[in-house]
Amino acid sequence: MSLLRKNLVLLGGLLVGVMGAVLVKYGNPANMGLCFVCFYRDIAGALGLHHNALVQYLRPEILGIFLGSFFSALTFRDFNPRGGSNPAIRFILGILIMVGGLIFLGCPIRAIYRLAGGDLSAVGGLLGIPFGAYLGLFFLTRGYNLGKARPLPRWVALIPVGFFVILLILLLIKIEWQTPYPYFSVKGPGSMHAPALLSLGLGVVAGVLFQRTRLCLAGGFRDIFLFNDQYLLKGFLGILLGALVANAALGLFKPAVVGPVAHGNFVANFLGMGLLGFAAILLGGCPMRQMVMTWEANFDSFIAILGMLAGAGLTHSLGLAASPAGVTMGGWAALALGYAAAFAIAYGFSLIRATVKGEA
């Protein structure tokens, strides 16, 4: 492997780190240059899956990532329509990811951005990721398997493409004609965003980088534990380094015990991100990676994305999401239930290999 190829993920990480700072500089909420949990939540809100008026926006970064990853996967022949590996369970795991993520208030990428912006409360979440990864691996090495994905006809790959083209059209008509639908926040984090074209453009770049580097924030710790393979963790460090330098340069580094759009409950941050990490390992990739795999025509990943959108809707409609004010009672209950469900799935699908001989 050439030196460039070995370090491509570090380079990609650095760029994503810088990109995050730039998007915040131009209007995104603090330490939220890119955040897959927050952005799925905002998209769910824009579509009306929840009615929290503070977090509704069709984040163009995600739509850009769709375009970037999709064309990158097509160009580099990573486009391989397949699916059917327990989609219903993947949908549920998508919901669990959002429950955990919205207790912490971010995905692993935002956890890094938060730290790079000086928010010390991110540490609880960052420690939670390896904890969750460890739980997932415990079962993966004991036979956990959701079953094989099988080849699908090519037209099936058009379904997620169609869904995201509709989102793009909705974004355009909203910007062009200020239509009442989709819903866009007029105050709160949902109203804070960089110019749509900048978000979309940087999203395309990020989409290509993510697709080419196979960056996965759940995979980083998983590979360290399993094989002592540091490739993916380099991406993690790249994002941190890039964001730190860019934040410092743009005057966005503001040390605080609890930063903006965050809360300081260490246990909740740790357990929230732990649940996200656990569910992500059971799915085979972090919230970002699920999006990228969707554009490699993995229909199961698309189902996980739909689960995350539904999860965002549920979490906000039922008042389970945390906020800078802290974690609600419902939030704690959802966290407990989330762990129970994740353990049940992990345990149940580890037994399969022990009982059903033959097909692994």
């Binding site: 094989f227 002592n228 990739g285 490699e296």
Partner: protein
């Protein structure tokens, strides 16, 4: 007896690498068939770290990785 072929097509990350690791620990030559570039890359990286020689050849839309011991 020919070397066993492990079918890892359609498995989620990182199961193909886990299967390869399990098989490698048995100490016999084997082959593994995968359908995703990411699986080829992960397995290649893993075998590279272990200092194990291997050959990757296309097989229709899939890839066959032959692992020596």
């Amino acid at each position: 007896m020919s070397a066993p072929v492990i079918d890892c097509r359609g498995l989620s990350c990182p199961l193909p690498v886990i299967r390869v690791k399990e098989e490698l620990d048995k100490g016999q030559p084997f082959s593994v068939i995968v359908d995703a570039s990411v699986a080829v890359e992960n397995i290649s990286r893993f075998l590279g770290y272990r200092g194990v020689s291997f050959i990757v050849t296309p097989r229709g839309a899939d890839r066959l990785i032959e692992v020596g011991s």
